[in-house]
Amino acid sequence: MKGFTTIISLVFLMALPLFAQETPPDSALVGAAVDTLVPAESRPAPVGQLSAEDTPNDDGESITINWMVSPDDAAGKVAEYKVMRALAPEGPFEEVGDAGSGQTSYSDNRAERGVPYYYKIAALNYKKVDNQITWQVSSESAVIGPIMATAQWINMGRLNILIAILILNGSIIYFIWAAKGGRQFYIRKIAGIEEVENAVGRATEMGRSIYYVPGINDMDDVQTLASITILGKVAAIAAENDTRIDVPVSRSMVMVTAREVVKEAYSKVGRPDSFQEDQVRYLTDDQFGYAAAIDGLFLRERPATIFLIGSFYAESLIMAETGNSIGSIQIAGTAQPAQLPFFVAACDYTLIGEEMFAASAYLSREPKLLGSLKGQDLAKAVFLIAIFVGVILESFGIDVSNLFTAE
């Protein structure tokens, strides 16, 4: 016991210098140490040409402050710029944000609409040791103001999109109006859509079912809406042929909508009793869980025809290759460019992007919908000409890229 006490005492004595080092020095000592540590000529020059303006094209909650970097910025004497704001030129100023060295602007997104503000920028230089600032010096710019944040009525940064939308929608509405007046339109053949009836007929002949997979996104995705629209036409053809169509879905809202659409399709062709609620069923919201469930269904049920139309991601090839392996005829369609090569490789027919959106009009042959396709084509021609002219102008060094970019 005596030996143990001696060892403890020795360890304690040896550790004393450690405790002595960790004891914080008094404040006078700290001040003296910091003053002596600040290197000579470490204070950066203040920023120049400070200006502030109401941030354009917003709802009046932001002010943009611009400045020229401190002349000492390039020399590494600026650690950051602090943006200070006050309600009066004499202050008191509060810090509203910071920008790194080399930065020349800051957006104060916490400004209140209609309130006049004054700004100044402090160029800071400091040294950090173990995340603690050991010394700090700063230079403040002149005060600028008053500046008020105001709300705008039109986002001018999106004016080019507005013009493009007006051209597109104008041409669509014109052709819809022309179609209402009895004008006939030629629509080129789309192999994937032409084949829908044959694909359904194949299932009828083989006495097997059809599977329609409307993608993994919800009803807030236009691709899903387009898919559900096509589902209505496919279900009607299947109902006419008295062939079962199964619609496994990954979203509850899609289930409710798809069920209504398929039910209506059966009623329309005079077979309301043939519709069963379990034809449209929910599987899971999970991406790969859904893919696994679909694969399982394909392998067990071995449908003659599979439609994969909607929004797909990484699961597209998992489903399409499984469908291919069981010898089903597959018609796919998506507006996800990254998934199109997979569908092209694994499916018999693929509706590429806009063809999927055209499918509903194509299948219904309704003049108003066909007119909208024609309008879309005209707008496409206008945009192609714009791109062509833009390429030529850019080739001659005339910068028109701003006309084609938006906020």
Partner: protein, 224 residues
Amino acid sequence: MRREIPLAITFIVGVSYIIAYFIPREPFSNFENWFNDWYAIVASFAIWLGALNLMKMSSLKIIRGKADVFHSVLIIISFLLILGIGFYEGFRGINATPSFSFRDPGTGFDWLYVNIYTPLSATMFALLAFFVASASYRAFRARNFEATLLLLAGFFVMLGRVPVGDLVTGWLPPEYQLSQWANWIMNVLNTAGQRAIMIGIALGLVSTSLRIILGLERAYLGGD
């Protein structure tokens, strides 16, 4: 009214979104948040429709003794297990000091997520590699001129993306080595094709949206 009210809602919401995109000031700037909140509320309630449908279909399969009953039993057990443990951990977390979430590390729910759900998802994702191989094998067969072009492009891109590509063309100047060929194919040819498709998709999206907003396209409501 069964059709008119949904069509009216679609028109009002669609037009509001368009207006809000171009007019940044209030109240228009709030439209997106309001409608997104409403959608989230409706979708939250709809989740139960899906879950109950899954339970109903699986239970009916078991009761009727249809084929693949095992899958249905597994679905029901898994669903009830994760639901039960989630609720249990949730209530336990509320009453604990300090409180914790049912998803926090160390909870039973987290254990199921990490040890069952994540490996199963990863397995499905990993299968993609084999499906890519089988699909590529079919797609890259040189049956005609276009398929041969595809084969050549695929060959150069795949080889250019691995170090051996530059090794076999190491005798060439750096700007002519295989990795640069691959970059050129991806950045010029591939990007040009992708952009053409994307312009078409964008126009199709706008056209479809307009048809839906104007009520011309109403098949999604269950009719023409």
